[in-house]
Each structure stands twice: as C-alpha cells, then as structure tokens.
C-alpha cells in the first residue's frame, strides 16, 4: 500500500508538526496525506509493527503483511515519518484493557502530544471485543474473536509473554457470522484443530459474511450450524461445551416484523475445548469522555472531525465503530484534510470567518 499516492515525492517542509495515534488503515492514510502536504509526522502505535488490524487481525492470506510494511517503509525512509512503536498513548481516565496492550513498552500522555504538536489525530480503532452475556462466558478457554486471532498472528512476529491458545487437536466452537468469525475458523483449521464448528443464530443467507464464505469454510472442513443460539457455556473449571437451542423465525406479526424465537426446551450441548465469541468490537479511545465523540459523530462540533479538545482530531473505526478498511481509509483522509485546512486558516487568523459554517450531513458520511 503506497499511502503517499497524492504526491510524487517528499515536498518542502511546511514547518508544522502532527502526531498520529494509531498506525492502522486510517492513521496511515492520514499520515500519507499529511506527509504529502509537507508536515512532519510522528506516528504512535502500541504494537511492534505498523498496520494495525491489517497486520495483526486479518490473516496473511487475505492481506500480505509485506505489502503494508512496504508502504510504512516508504513513509519512513522517503518522507521522514517517525514511527514510535510499542508506545501507548493514555488519557487521564483509567486504562482500558484491550487486546495487544501487553505489547507496549512505553506509555505517554495525550496531553503531552497535544503540547508538542500543532495537531493530534486519534485513529485508535476498535480493540475491545464485545462480550457475549451468557452464563459461563468467563470460563478459561472462552476467547473473543480478537483475543484468539491476535496472538495467533502476533506469534509470527515475536513472542515474549504471549499467551497463544493451544489449538492443535482441540475442538473449537466459533459463535458469530461476521468476517472475524470466518477468519477465526480459518485460523483454527490452519493451526490443526480437530473439529471446528461455526454456529450462527440465523441462516447463512442472512449472515453478514455472506453464504459464499459459509460454503467455502465447509469445503475447507469446518462444520457450519445455522439457526442455533447459545444459551450458556458449560464447564466446571474450564470450557467443556456450549449449550445451544434451535432458533426459529416466526411468521410476520401485525407490524410485519419477524421475531427470532429460541426453543429452549430443545437445547443440546456441543462439546468444545475452545469457544470463540466473534460478536463485534468496540473502540476505547484515550480521553473518550473529554473528547465528546458522540458530538463528533453527530457533527455537533466546531470543525469537521475535530473533538471537543482544540486541535485534536479523530478518524476511523474509533469514531464510526468497526467497519471495513475502505471506510477507515476514507475517514483518515478526510480528517487529515480537515486538520490541514483548520491549521492553515488558524495560521492566517481566519478561523472566525468559518465559525458559522455548517457541517453538512454528507460531510459526515
């Protein structure tokens, strides 16, 4: 990925300095935009390599990590971008425990970044997995999609204190039907699990990943079970199985709505050594509350994609929730452009002229 697609070479420096927090798709795209505009950019990331989930979440057969590494290397070597890896930026709020935090060696404050730079862009993504609230979800052997995928991917880079789940010969049950679930099934099969089952409460036609992925996983040896909802995870001191119940879609009611009914009396237990619940991720930005991210989402801010802290901008999944790489790239580019315009007008002392400018609905998309 060549993030500097907007220019042919390093431009004259414009004297401005920006810090970008998070080296995923949105952070790197913004870095490319700003490097092309002559900014001195430093990029912080808690992980040992740039790329974020493109490198540490999405399997290598989908996105080659070398392709991302090449793009980051070009930013570093040709455009003088400084990568500060294994560095986590924290706010005043209590630390979140997110996947991958244990890879950071250094902790720095957001306030310090704001003081040292003309602007800061937060692109920290969604690293906290949503928990499935069923009894037994805290048993050892139950992982979230990221908790399972991240160590498997990270293990190929370096591995001090990495708690890699032992997969070989185990029975793995994956709950969910998004692309994370698909990648988990794939990883489990590659790592030599004896049996991998994908369980979804609706039909494969309704699955977010599409029926084609289901068919392909079945060809690769996974067992796909539709119309089954998890009731509880069973086991005494670790996971022994998952109790599922069949799910039936009711006939449309008066309002035309079909409801999913769980037939609890027909429940059954599926044996499992490892259970992975891939049911979504959440963002955990530093200073979440002070930044007023809800207002940014609604466009209720002074400047497009600027948080309630002056000169702090936000982009990517952390703002919009987990989505596709393309959406993150667009958000990063848009925030970088907005940041550049804001600093330019500020330097010219013309910000007041645009104070009443309305942020249109289409700008937020």
């Amino acid at each position: 990925m060549d993030f500097t697609f907007l220019c042919s070479g390093k431009p004259e420096p414009n004297g401005r300095k920006v810090a970008i927090i998070g080296a995923g798709p949105s952070g790197l795209s913004a870095t490319g935009y700003l490097a092309c505009a002559g900014y001195k950019v430093e990029v912080y990331d808690k992980l040992p390599k740039p790329g974020g989930l493109m490198v540490f979440g999405i399997p290598g057969h989908r996105i080659s990590p070398e392709n991302i590494a090449r793009g980051a290397e070009k930013l570093e070597k040709e455009f003088g971008v400084e990568f500060k890896l294994r560095t986590k930026i924290c706010g005043s709020e209590p630390m979140h425990e997110e996947t991958g935090d244990d890879m950071a060696y250094t902790y720095k404050s957001l306030g310090g970044r704001v003081e040292d730079n003309d602007a800061v862009l937060i692109c920290t993504g969604t690293w906290k997995s949503r928990r499935m609230e069923v009894p037994g979800h805290e048993l050892p052997g139950v992982y979230s999609g990221l908790e399972f995928l991240f160590p498997v991917r990270a293990a190929s880079y370096e591995i001090a204190n990495m708690d890699v789940p032992e997969i070989k010969g185990k029975k793995v049950v994956v709950i969910g039907a998004g692309f994370t679930a698909v990648d988990v099934v794939h990883a489990a099969l590659t790592e030599g699990a004896s049996r991998v089952s994908l369980v979804y409460r609706r039909s494969r036609e309704e699955a977010p990943c599409g029926s084609m992925e289901f068919n392909m996983l079945e060809k690769q040896g996974a067992v796909c079970m539709e119309h089954s909802a998890p009731l509880e995870i069973v086991g005494t001191d670790r996971v022994e199985g998952v109790r599922f119940a069949p799910c039936v879609m009711s006939e449309p009611d008066e309002a035309g709505k079909c409801r999913l009914t769980v037939q609890k009396e027909e429940s059954f237990v599926m044996e499992a050594d490892i259970v992975v619940t891939a049911v979504g991720e959440m963002g955990t930005p530093p200073f979440a509350h002070d930044l007023g991210l809800d207002n940014v989402r609604k466009g209720d801010v002074k400047w497009l994609q600027m948080t309630s802290l002056d000169s702090v901008f936000v982009a990517g999944d952390v703002l919009m929730g987990p989505s596709k790489i393309g959406k993150a790239v667009y958000s990063g580019l848009k925030a970088a452009k907005s940041l550049d315009e804001w600093l330019t007008l500020k330097d010219q002392g013309r910000l007041d002229e645009f104070q009443d400018e309305v942020i249109r609905r289409e700008d937020l998309r």
């Binding site: 990925m1 996105i63 080659s64 990943c209 580019l333």
Partner: protein, 165 residues
C-alpha cells in the same frame, strides 16, 4: 493503451479503492457491489478495446484518449440525456450516474487529471489486486485463479453474453 486491471481472486472486498476514488473525485467511479451470496466486489471501467458506451452515446461525448488509450468522457459534450444509453450499454456497470443535477454522468479517467500520478486506487490496494497495465500485457498478469474469480463475478453481475476479455 492502458487499463485498470483487478485480480478478483486477490480482492477481499475491503472497499479501499472506492474510498480513495471518492476522496479524489467526490463521486467514486469504482463501485463496490455485493453478489447475492454475500461477496463484496468492486466494478470498474475496463477501458475496452471496443467500448459499447462510446457507440451508445449519440453526442460523441465518450472518446478515446489518443495518448493513453483511456476511454474518457467529455463533460461539455454530455447532453445529460434522459435515456442515459451509456449507462445501459456498459457491460461492466462502470458508467456512473452521480445523481448530481449538473454533470450527472461520470466515469473512470485513469486519474489523468492528477498530473501524471496515475490511478489513485491502485497503489492503495492492500491486497495488491489492482494495477494499471497495458492491454497487450493483460494476458501476462491474468492468472488461472484470477480468471476463475472473474467468471464468478460475471455470472452474478456482468451480463453472461459479454466477451470475457
């Protein structure tokens, strides 16, 4: 005689090409679509050797750039006709109706307006699936897997009677 080429077997449907195109041109010209079985793929202009859009346009607003061979739209000549025959003619769904009142039609111009930087989408593809190639070199980059994946896309979206190359 250059064209954009997408290896559908490498594409993961992330939509980066569409986003980058949207950022550069406001209205994206490479468009993500989803097949009935849930496969996300981009559709794009292949800058055909024998473009149907060019034949369909009665105003001759679509022409071939003599230097690069790209099939381009001359916005000033576009009559913004209500029938929009070019849209219907394109077998790759690559003529775009933007919905804007002025200049309602747009199409890929291989980013010739970017001052020699080339297409913006290709270098940003995380999967190295998109590239700018010469028509003559197309056979060299087409792998059997790519051709198979392309046939699958064609079954779903692009008309089955259309020529495969």
């Amino acid at each position: 005689m250059q064209t954009l080429y997408l290896d559908y077997s490498k594409c993961i449907g992330c939509g980066t090409c569409e986003s980058v195109c949207k950022f550069v041109h406001t209205h994206p010209r490479i468009i993500m679509t989803r097949t009935p079985d849930g496969w996300w793929v981009p559709l794009y202009c292949q800058h055909c050797q024998n473009p149907k859009c060019m034949k369909a346009c009665t105003n001759k607003a679509i022409y071939r750039d003599p230097d690069t061979g790209a099939v381009l739209l001359k916005q000033e000549l576009c009559a913004e006709c209500p029938t929009k025959n070019c849209l219907m003619a394109c077998p790759y769904v690559a003529m775009i109706c933007t919905g804007a009142r002025k200049a309602p039609i747009t199409k890929c111009n291989l980013c010739l307006d970017r001052g020699g930087l080339g297409p913006a989408c290709a270098p940003m593809c995380p999967c190295d699936a998109l590239m700018l190639v010469d028509h003559e070199d197309l056979d060299k980059v087409k792998t059997p897997e790519a051709q198979k994946a392309y046939e699958l896309v064609r079954q779903h979206i692009i008309c089955p009677e259309c020529p495969t190359s």
